[in-house]
């Protein structure tokens, strides 16, 4: 499932995938895979992304049960 909240948070800070990836110490392709839902990041990477985007884990990664 696509992570649209991550994409929106990144866009709100006017960051490209490349820029966010660099802040988090990963490749642009990895950031793209996370946004597309093709890759589930480890908790360490989730935290790094949240710190870079000034968001909490809940705000970016928590999924409510349907």
């Amino acid at each position: 499932m696509k992570n649209l909240r991550l994409k929106a948070a990144r866009a709100a800070l006017d960051l490209s995938q490349e820029e966010l990836a660099k802040k988090c110490g990963v490749s642009r392709q990895t950031m793209s895979a996370i946004e597309k839902g093709d890759y589930n990041p480890t908790i360490n990477l989730c935290i790094a992304i949240c710190r870079a985007l000034h968001k909490t884990l809940d705000e970016l990664f928590w999924e409510e049960e349907a």
């Binding site: 995938q17 110490g25 990963v26 990895t30 990041p41 360490n44």
Partner: protein
């Protein structure tokens, strides 16, 4: 005599590779750094490369038992397996976007690949021009160069296909 020449060639190649790799990485370390997704994909790629080499070796045992004559010298059979493994490893990584490490200077890597391609093409062209590429119906040492050229060509073609498929998908760059 030829064995010592081969060993010397491999040693010189390793030293050159060591120097080039250190120069090609932005942090001047020989090893490329990868992120967690890339490490995971690379783990799978190594697994498939290992399976490929195992299947190849098993197939070679069967073929040799059947006394099949190959168009290359016997001592090259092992190296062909290594190259096949490298092709599988590289192709899997390229297809899953794991072709660049975090510390790679892409421009320098392109130059290195170009140099490797040229260095391997030269002996093949020279031997082909002098008519000594095939002796007694078999290709000798230049087979190593041909295999490396083939591997680089496969990677180049796959990179082009990947580039165009990503572009048609409209992936953000």
């Amino acid at each position: 005599m030829m064995a010592w020449g081969l060993v010397a060639g491999i040693m010189v190649g390793l030293v050159i590779a060591f120097i080039l790799l250190r120069a090609a990485n932005t942090n001047h370390r020989m090893k490329s750094d990868y992120d967690e997704r890339q490490e995971r994909i690379r783990g799978k790629a190594y697994m498939y490369a290992f399976y490929t080499m195992m299947i190849y070796e098993a197939a070679m045992v069967v073929l040799k038992a059947g006394e099949i004559v190959f168009p290359f010298e016997d001592y090259l059979a092992g190296f062909i397996g290594v190259i096949l493994g490298c092709i599988v490893l590289g192709c899997y990584c390229i297809w899953h976007d794991v072709y660049w490490g975090l510390n790679n200077n892409r421009r320098r890597y392109y130059i290195i690949f170009g140099v490797i391609f040229a260095l391997n093409l030269m002996p093949v062209v020279m031997q082909a021009a002098s008519g000594t590429l095939i002796q007694d119906g078999k290709i000798g040492l230049p087979m190593l160069n041909i295999l490396v050229i083939f591997m680089l060509a496969v990677f180049g073609i796959e990179l082009l296909i990947k580039h165009f498929t990503d572009r048609s998908r409209g992936e953000e760059d």
